[in-house]
Amino acid sequence: MRRFVLLLTLVSLAACDSVGSSEYVEQVVVSSFLEVGKRPRPVNLTRTFPLEGPVDLARALVTDATVSISLLAPDGSVEATYPLEFDGTAQYRILDTEVRVLPGRTYRFTAEVPGQGTITAETITPTPIDLVQPAQETVTYLDGLGPTFRVTPASVPNRQSVYLIQVAAQAPDDFEVIEREDGSFGVQRLFTDGRFGPTPDAASFIENIDCDRRDLDSCDFLPSDLASGSSPLLNQESYESFPDGSIQVTVPWLAFGFYGPHKFTLNALDAVLTDYIATQAVQFNPTTLSPGEIPNITSNVEGGLGVFGAYAAVEVFSTVVPE
């Protein structure tokens, strides 16, 4: 019995809770995106904040870094380096206006940040997407599964392509706050010429918007929030493919909150952006994880946080008319 108690005591000691909380260490956050065929986008370098403050907005921007983006040869050597300069406001911009992002190539991001050391990241750009068949000029709401268009798919090394579609109504109508009969505040469409109203489902949501006062900023939700949106990440295999290698993209009706002209942007993401966006979503929509279990975002940035990613995009237009 005494031995048993001793064993129990040993287990108790071994089980002492070694779990601790994390200490705040300031890090630099990279925001750099390459679109295939386009000039590299301006780069943002910012700093993290401690969770519960204080927040020193004056220090949020990193303004004194030395930043460059390099194109690597297949053997890993540097083929070309493009320096970036701080524009005096918020971003670092590439100096060479003729530079275009090449498809299927490796790029390296480098930033020397005083006090933070060297930050690096690499990505491989996808191949471009070409439009094979544009979307119908006009589509009737809820007729079929949604507007469709065909493209040649992009490719990324060692995995199937992953896409993200952005949908934006080009002319949604404006709304104003009104006082309802019961004294509460809601919103009402203005019926502006050339603007288009919400779909029936969106309209029923808009009817239920509550505002605190006669000011759109006081509303719990804005009608304009239904005018644009992004899809989740979609694998290439989720699209219908054709013998010529093209794929047909269907934009589901779920994406439409308003009638009228729309722009669809189909983005093919590199592996870096795919992983970053997928794991970022887990932090705020944990699905199978326990609530409160928040894994870090998977990032390709070494020495900091954020993302240096690449994508290819194609834009398609179509107009949605009522049933």
């Binding site: 019995m1 779990v19 994390s22 260490v25 925001s31 904040f49 998977t298």
Partner: protein, 751 residues
């Protein structure tokens, strides 16, 4: 090998002209067999020897001397009974006994009647159904919430009845209802378990290192048997509660009084009037137009002869939820279980018992949604058809042998579609087969050695695994026993779930590139009686976990992925100590359960999970106190107190934003950074529940039972998890809290 044979010879060699006593132990009022009832020899050369009834209520005491001897039969909640028998040399005496329920006679059983070695196997607890029904609970008496009070068992929150046993997730517990696997044991998204406590006869929980007679799960087993029904008279009951109402009827089969019975139990939620009122008075989206669950349990059984019995049991349970919103959008949940079993049991000889069973189990989860004209479906069904045979041979008190086989066909269907496009269509029909052999040796009166091995084959992936198990028990005097058990376990299924919401639960199986999960367990236990009224169990456990597979949390689209790409593969360990002090007799009864536990997991190939971390349900300390006091005049009071270390969660040290993101709506991606996953602890959890019960006659036509309960009497708002609002600077952190104070009332009538 020679030593083993010698040991076997010593333990199996019957003494010349030894006698046997066997038979059923039944409830005198209903004729129901009693599982786990004890029989002990009170005098003569065999004094102190004992046995317990098996799951069919049958006991065997072999190798008895030809003599007159006194046997005492006992069972918790029943009056004990003493029988004097005279045995001739070589005689087999069939002695069926009926015990009167507590209250009908003055003398009530004390647990001390049972030989300490029969008290319970290591890691095993018999869950008293009466206690389950008396415990204060939110809305409905709930078996799993009662089990959560036992040491070694943790809950994830007030909102979940999921069982986290010795560091295992809920899918690591095999749940059997009348021998049939139940794949989703929850209602109301996990708030309640599916088991109607009125229908249950016996529940046995194997927390770990369970015997080779069971298999297919890494951690533990809950073996539930429904009531057979009253074989003496027609009986009925009705219970009205705040959330659900229950009705039952049972009685003898026509023309088979005393030999056959039936029982039918029904339970249904009764929220519709409340929802209708809400819909009429609140002009608001999201109020369900359908929201109910139901359970139906039915069982029919008959003794064909005094050696043969047949029975058929069926269960159906379902949750239906429909939530309309917007102009034409709708979200529907539809999930549930169906089980069926047909059993034939035969006493083959004086010491041999045969059980055969055909089972069918179906789990279905069919959520659908149509939002703005876009359809979503997520179909998961499991169909499991099996047959099993179990043979118990108890030739002497020194040697027992169990063997059996269980084979069947398991078919999994997992299909997701979005906007008419099929994203995943996975069908996995697979045959499976298990076989086991287990022996129990008593080389000396003070030693018991139990060993067995289970072979398990799953055709999908062609996986064959062997799961050995051994247990050593050493009696230390008449009141104490020291136990050591170890075993290896395998699991061919995994459950994709969310601890806060079980409505989308999805089962997946091993397959190409997805091997079976593995675990080794070791348990050291000490059971002792402290005087006549108290029993103390102490157990130390340790277990490993390998090849764990669950869905990669970052998956947004599964189209085109290889099967193994759906999963992340993990490992882990758990260890701890459990103390259970029980008081089973007197005006004050109850238990104190304490657990000191540590659980860790890691997923070596997942960047954010490579380091070992505590899962959310990991808690170092867990203390539960249950006390029931008989106040007199039909009144009794039950109090439950709980204290636990705060759950693990991730407290980020930093927030950040990636601005000017050209490919997402809003153009920004917010982020949280922490140096340790689940590295912080929520405030400690504590809560006290109180319940009062009054039982008595109801105008001479029925017996009534009125329950008045208060959950969380001091309305402690225990924290569930944090949420982060990036719209404020600095980021605003708030906490979602668990149940506030809740009253509960129910009235039961038993006709």
């Amino acid at each position: 090998m020679r030593t083993l044979l010698l040991l076997l010879a010593l333990t199996t060699a019957p003494a010349s002209a030894q006698s046997v006593v066997n038979g059923f132990v039944r409830d005198a009022r209903s004729g129901e067999t009693l599982i786990g009832a004890n029989v002990i020899v009170l005098d003569g050369p065999a004094q102190g020897r004992g046995s317990a009834t098996n799951v069919q209520g049958f006991y065997t005491l072999g190798n008895l001397p030809s003599d007159s001897l006194t046997l005492r039969f006992s069972f918790i909640g029943f009056s004990s009974q003493t029988q004097r028998v005279g045995l001739q040399p070589g005689e087999t005496l069939r002695l069926d006994v009926e015990l009167a329920p507590e209250g009908e006679l003055d003398e009530v059983v004390v647990e001390a009647d049972e030989p300490i070695e029969e008290a319970a196997a290591i890691g095993t607890i018999d869950v008293p159904i009466r206690l389950v029904q008396d415990l204060p609970t939110a809305f409905e008496a709930d078996l799993f919430r009662a089990i959560q009070l036992l040491p070694g068992v943790k809950s994830s929150s007030d909102f979940s009845s999921g069982l986290y046993i010795r560091g295992g997730s809920p899918d690591q517990t095999l749940i059997l209802l009348d021998g049939t696997t139940v794949y989703n044991p929850t209602h109301f998204f996990g708030f309640f378990s599916t088991f109607n406590t009125d229908a249950i006869k016996d529940v046995r929980l194997y927390k770990g290192a369970y015997p080779a007679t069971y298999g297919g799960r890494l951690g533990s087993v809950i073996d539930i048997y429904n009531r057979d029904g009253n074989r003496n008279e027609l009986d009925g009951g009705l219970t009205v509660g705040l959330l659900a109402s229950r009705a039952d009827i049972e009685g003898p089969l026509p023309g088979m009084e005393g030999r056959g019975s039936f029982t039918l139990n029904a339970r249904r939620s009764t929220l519709e009037p409340l929802l209708a009122t809400l819909r009429e008075n609140l002009d608001q989206d999201g109020i369900p137009d359908k929201f109910y669950f139901y359970d139906l349990n039915a069982k029919v059984g008959a003794d064909l002869t005094d050696r043969d019995r047949v029975s058929v049991a069926a269960y159906a349970g379902q949750d239906i939820v429909g939530v309309p919103f917007g102009e034409s959008s709708q979200f529907n949940l539809n999930y549930g279980n169906r089980t069926f079993s047909a059993a034939y049991n035969r006493i083959l000889g004086e010491t041999t018992f045969l059980q055969t069973r055909a089972t069918a189990s179906r789990y279905f989860s069919l959520p659908t949604a149509e939002i703005f004209g876009t359809e979503f479906t997520n179909v998961n069904t499991v169909d499991d058809y099996s047959g099993r045979v179990d043979l118990e041979w108890l030739p002497s008190e020194r040697f027992e042998l169990s063997t059996g086989a269980w084979a069947g066909r398991f078919e999994l269907n997992f299909e997701q579609s979005f906007n008419g496009q099929t994203q995943i269509d996975f069908e996995s029909p697979s045959y499976y087969a298990n076989g086991y052999v287990q022996t129990k040796l008593r080389p000396t009166p003070d030693w018991i050695v139990t060993g067995g091995v289970r072979a398990e084959y799953f055709a999908n992936g062609d996986y064959l695994r062997f799961s050995p198990q051994v247990q050593l028990e050493r009696k230390l005097g008449t009141n104490t026993i020291l136990q050591l058990a170890a075993g290896q376990y395998h699991q061919f299924l995994s459950l994709i779930s969310n601890e806060a919401f079980s409505g989308f639960d999805t089962w997946v199986t091993v397959g190409e590139g997805v091997p079976p999960q593995e675990s080794e367990q070791v348990v050291l236990g000490l059971k002792t009686r402290l005087g006549d009224q108290y029993r103390l169990d102490v157990e130390l456990y340790g277990r490993t976990l390998r090849e764990l597979f669950d869905q990669r949390p970052e998956l947004q689209d599964v189209s085109g992925l290889e099967y193994q790409e759906l999963f992340r593969f993990g490992e882990g360990f758990a260890y701890g100590a459990e103390i259970l002090l029980e008081k089973g007799v007197g005006r004050l009864t109850g238990l104190i359960g304490y657990t000191l536990g540590v659980t860790r997991r890691r997923y070596p190939l997942e960047p954010a999970f490579t380091e070992t971390f505590p899962p959310k349900y990991d808690r170092l300390h867990d203390l539960n106190v249950v006390a029931t006091f008989k106040l007199g005049r039909g009144w009794s009071a039950t109090a439950v107190g709980k204290y636990a270390t705060g759950q693990a969660y991730t407290l980020p040290s930093a927030t950040y934003t990636v601005p000017d993101v050209p490919i997402v709506d809003g153009g920004r991606l917010d982020g949280l950074f922490s140096s340790q996953l689940n590295g912080a602890r929520l405030p400690p959890y504590h809560r006290v529940d109180l319940g009062f019960k009054r039982a008595g006659g109801f105008f001479g036509v029925a017996q009534y039972e009125l329950q008045l309960q208060v959950i969380n009497v001091y309305s402690r708002r225990n924290v569930w998890f944090p949420v982060f609002d990036f719209d404020s600077v600095p980021v605003d952190v708030s906490f979602v809290r668990q149940l506030p104070i809740l009253p509960n009332v129910s009235l039961s009538l038993d006709f």
